[in-house]
Symmetry: C3
Subunit: 210 residues, 3 copies
Amino acid sequence: MNLHPFLVAIEVGGTLAFAMSGLIEATRKRMDIVGVFSVAFVSAFGGGTLRDILLDRRPLFWIENQEYLWLVLAMVATTPLWLQTLRHKVGGRLMELADALGLGLFAISGATLADAAGMPALVSMMMGVVTAVFGGVSRDVLCNEVPKVYSDHRPYAMCALFGCGVFLALNTTGLPLPITTLAGIAAATGSRLLALVFDVRLPAWPAHRD
Amino acid sequence: MNLHPFLVAIEVGGTLAFAMSGLIEATRKRMDIVGVFSVAFVSAFGGGTLRDILLDRRPLFWIENQEYLWLVLAMVATTPLWLQTLRHKVGGRLMELADALGLGLFAISGATLADAAGMPALVSMMMGVVTAVFGGVSRDVLCNEVPKVYSDHRPYAMCALFGCGVFLALNTTGLPLPITTLAGIAAATGSRLLALVFDVRLPAWPAHRD
Amino acid sequence: MNLHPFLVAIEVGGTLAFAMSGLIEATRKRMDIVGVFSVAFVSAFGGGTLRDILLDRRPLFWIENQEYLWLVLAMVATTPLWLQTLRHKVGGRLMELADALGLGLFAISGATLADAAGMPALVSMMMGVVTAVFGGVSRDVLCNEVPKVYSDHRPYAMCALFGCGVFLALNTTGLPLPITTLAGIAAATGSRLLALVFDVRLPAWPAHRD
């Protein structure tokens, strides 16, 4: 079974959804064209870049696969032509779906690369989560906000962690990698979508009184 | 003289104190469970990670010594059970002591590794300070605050710098490394504790009028 | 033609101008002496450091050329003696000029190093822009502001991009490197100065309504 075209399709959708989230935040902050492009790039490539730096992988994934740079460039440049469409309910739902797919794919890509580099399971799970969420964290830091993934009380990083756990657990059973990869992505993306559908909230952390 | 068990004890205390500072800031910002864990991790491991990246050391220290990850995980997970205790004056003092020990140990660890990599003295001192303070800087950036270490007018980075200076100066005298290491940690931690006891303030920088 | 002394003179001026911008922001935020030194260092060396990390170049440029660390240290330490002078109109203009020269030099240095490492043109241009602007972005993040380069609607990163484009385009013509280097710096610095003189604004990004 050749998963490649399928994974590429998910990666394209996820990268575009992440870049779009940066574009939207940057325009909300009334940034200029430089800010909009920069924040879109950081949102799309920040997580994978930090993963590659922590694991000391070179060339960075967006240098090895330059076409993703061009893809995000083209998307941002053409936004004014089609952004209205995204306002519609269908557009919003589509973006949530693409973002959830990106979450799953990037999480499993981080866990896979860390695992292949011989990292212990705890580190591989952390690399998965970092790959999935650090783009969004950087986006919010550049926009001078507390990172949404840390404070919106919605399962997001948790879904990435869950997917990585499923992936690593299945890997120990000797199942072929394409199967465990798909199962991990499905677990992360699926749990994210369920959380959205059922409006799940993370329990509040016991408050610290000053 | 085998310093190892002694240094490990300090490192455990320092790591926990740094993680705790992240946990407290994150709860103050009403972050959810993901934010609390993330900010605690970044506070505890941010300084050493930046040091390792700048010096190009792999595997990163928290990958090589995975037990620190588990330690911080366990501490954060069990916080609700014992956080009340820290509210007492004794608990607060204990945390200040552990934080000062962490400051000393991380500063000297940064200077030692830079020195061993053949860096000039100025760079080794900077690496010591970066190792000691960057976790706290990242914590404050993620919490959307101006870094406390830059703006609270209390000696902290200065104490790290002083300890590194003592350590590097003594190294040139030919004293054995365990002695100079202890002296450096004592200088950093001691000056920090004295600054707390005597409520020392950094002189204000000549104001810039607009 | 030996460009070296000429490029060093520009690099000294640019580094000082970048450090000065950090010093001014930090004092505006009423940081203490540690904050002022730290933000000045990050503003001066942040861009080149990120470039070196992304390209995996070690030792970092400010470790290889330690004299720049001493230069910035000396400048910050002596600021109170001469800061008044900068308040005058001539001083402000001088700083804008030095900053524009730094912009040009750092942009071309980033593009040159990426090009020499075999990067494709798009990546080399991005490395040029990152080298020129990331110090300022870090400065603003540490000062808890939205990065000015993303939101002040003035051409700055654009000028860096333009200079890198001129440099890389001329390189394909077979002109000697000293000529293309000078032309690239002149294009970036010149376009920045023209934008200042003619008060050019970047077009607003089509607004996103919530």
